[in-house]
Amino acid sequence: MMRNDPIKHVFIWPAVLVVLAISIFPLIYSLTTSFLSYRLIPPIPPRVVWLGNYATLLQEPRFWSALFTTTLIAFIAVGLQYAIGFGVALALNARVPGERLFRVALLLPMLLAPVAVALVARMIFNPTMGPLNQFLAKFGLANLPFLTNGHWALACIIAVEVWQWTPFIILMMLAGLQTLPEDVYEAAELENASAWQQFWGITFPMMLPISAAVVFIRLIESYKIMDTVFVMTGGGPGVDTETLTLFAYQEGFKKFNLGYTSALSFLFLIAITIIGVTYLALLRPHLEKRR
């Protein structure tokens, strides 16, 4: 039942005002800046270049490389997170021994500061003094260039992302698994369906809507990745691990190229929107079929 009472405005306006002021406001500001050629160092008075910044950016290989790196990190990391997270959630839901103990430990990483996690990762991935090196040395793989080789560095960043955010998937999937009706499984049991068949025939399809939502959230969040990369590699070696946010930070905060950075952040926004809309469009038929 919906009430109608003038006091509703008192309830909703503070939040609306703050969000309008702090997010729409700067959006307009940077949208207009993105059409200017505007630098602070060296100081050049702003000049209208319309889509000039966007055109330069689209021809800039560094932009495409950053977009590619970010996409790679996001998709691989989220894919792994989903696979591991769903697996662990299934096991926990099936009352694996020691399940209570696991729950607290498994949730921890997602609440920790990414910068601190990245610092710890740097120590663990240290090629001479780190524990991982010691472990791999036993298999004859000593002194791997974890953070100094482009491919390895990317893999390490993905590993840290998976470590930190798989708990989120576990949490959400576990909550979802607990809502599944039991009688369907009992029926399947009577039909002598194997555990494998039960998973693909019942669990997976019924979990699809939750899976879609969780993966969507993680994907969008992963595209914003910055702190982990900033601390672990600083975008290096070269620009091999530079993500979009880091690229924008370098341009904006190191070079104070304001118009260019604003255009970059808008291209970023457009890219995220395209990915989000495509994702939802691809999944919609599957989701509706199940309902």
């Binding site: 969000v19 406001f25 697996g87 607290v104 910068v115």
Partner: protein, 345 residues
């Protein structure tokens, strides 16, 4: 709560599953153990290669923490206070006004004309360009002037019988939540420019408590509104209806009945917001430089300042991590009963 037992599986695959979960658990816990242990090491304990067991591999010391407290590696104590103050106040304000908005969206009916939204956007943009170009105002002055004009015009336009689609509560909720989709760099950078130009007008926002808290409140609101809406929807309406029969005003229903009934939800939301603000890096990087610097910035800085002084780095990381570990313990108690379940549907 259902949970199929593993009975359908053969004993061997059951063991395999248990081993798999145990392996993941070890992977999760090892880095945490490592950082705790390293923070108590002396320089020789680090440089000589990895050591794992205190009192056996190396002699633990409190020196790294004493160094931290004395401020040898940056103003840790001060920064810790900053993080705490900004985190607590941003989380409290966001939870309060976000809960109010969520309650309004659950219990009251809102109608916003799409036309009014367009009026707001066009007037804000047009007014800003106009004031900036013709009146010779600076950019923030023009924005600050255009904003209220656009807002008032939009409110008036909403009363007029304009044609066009009407947006309801679901759309307003979607608008709130969609703020979370924006890459924060878009706002962080613009906010930095805006803050610094407002600073030139004589009101300092960069590196200030107000500026940073305001920004965090705005960026926590989407989550708060989203989570709290589900908690409020779960409250049986009959209680509120009974109060309404007795002519209790809405604000007293909210404070006296709804808030106490959803205390768990409010607390969980508060803690999630606190964790988000505590760990946030990008906005703090742009909007602070010394006085109101937060922990993540200082912790990130340790890296370049001190090459391989791992004992110091670990101690610094621990300071940033431990409060959230304690909170995770508290939060996991509330997580039973599928607390977050509603949020994902």
């Amino acid at each position: 709560m259902s949970g199929q037992s593993l009975t359908g599986l053969s004993p061997w695959s059951r063991r395999l599953v248990a081993v798999g979960v145990l392996a993941w658990c070890l992977i999760t816990v090892f880095p945490l153990y490592w950082v705790v242990v390293t923070a108590f090491k002396t320089p020789p304990g680090v440089v000589g290669g990895p050591t794992y067991l205190p009192f056996i591999d190396f002699t633990p010391t409190l020196q790294p923490f004493i160094d931290l407290y004395q401020g040898i590696r940056g103003e840790f104590f001060h920064t810790f206070l900053n993080s705490t103050i900004v985190g607590l106040s941003a989380a409290a304000i966001a939870t309060a006004i976000g809960a109010m908005a969520a309650y309004a969206l659950v219990r009251f009916e809102f109608k916003v004309r799409l036309g009014a939204g367009l009026v707001f956007f066009l007037l804000a943009l047009g007014g800003y360009l106009l004031f900036n170009a013709t009146l010779g105002l600076t950019r923030p002055q023009a924005l600050l002037l255009a904003f209220p004009i656009a807002l008032i015009a939009a409110v008036v336009a909403n009363r007029l019988p304009l044609s066009g689609p009407i947006l309801g509560n679901e759309d307003i909720l979607f608008w709130f939540v969609s703020q979370r989709m924006f890459p924060p760099i878009v706002t962080a950078f613009a906010l930095y420019l805006l803050y610094s130009e407002i600073g030139r007008l004589g009101f300092q926002l960069i590196d200030s408590f107000v500026g940073l808290t305001l920004c965090y409140v705005a960026f926590s609101l989407p989550i708060v509104v989203w989570l709290m809406r589900d908690f409020f929807e779960a409250i049986p309406i009959e209680v509120e209806e009974a109060a309404m029969v007795d002519n209790v005003p809405s604000w007293r229903i909210f404070i006296g009945i709804v808030v106490p009934m959803s205390m768990n939800g409010l607390l969980a939301t508060f803690m999630i917001t606190l964790a988000f603000v505590w760990n946030e890096f990008l906005f703090a990087l742009f909007l602070t430089n010394s006085r109101w610097q937060t922990l993540p910035i200082l912790v990130a800085g340790q890296n370049s300042q001190r090459g391989d002084e791992w004992w110091a780095i670990s101690a610094a990381a621990l300071v940033a991590i431990v409060p959230m570990m304690i909170m995770a313990g508290l939060l996991s108690r509330m997580m039973r009963s599928g607390l977050l379940l509603g949020a994902i549907k």
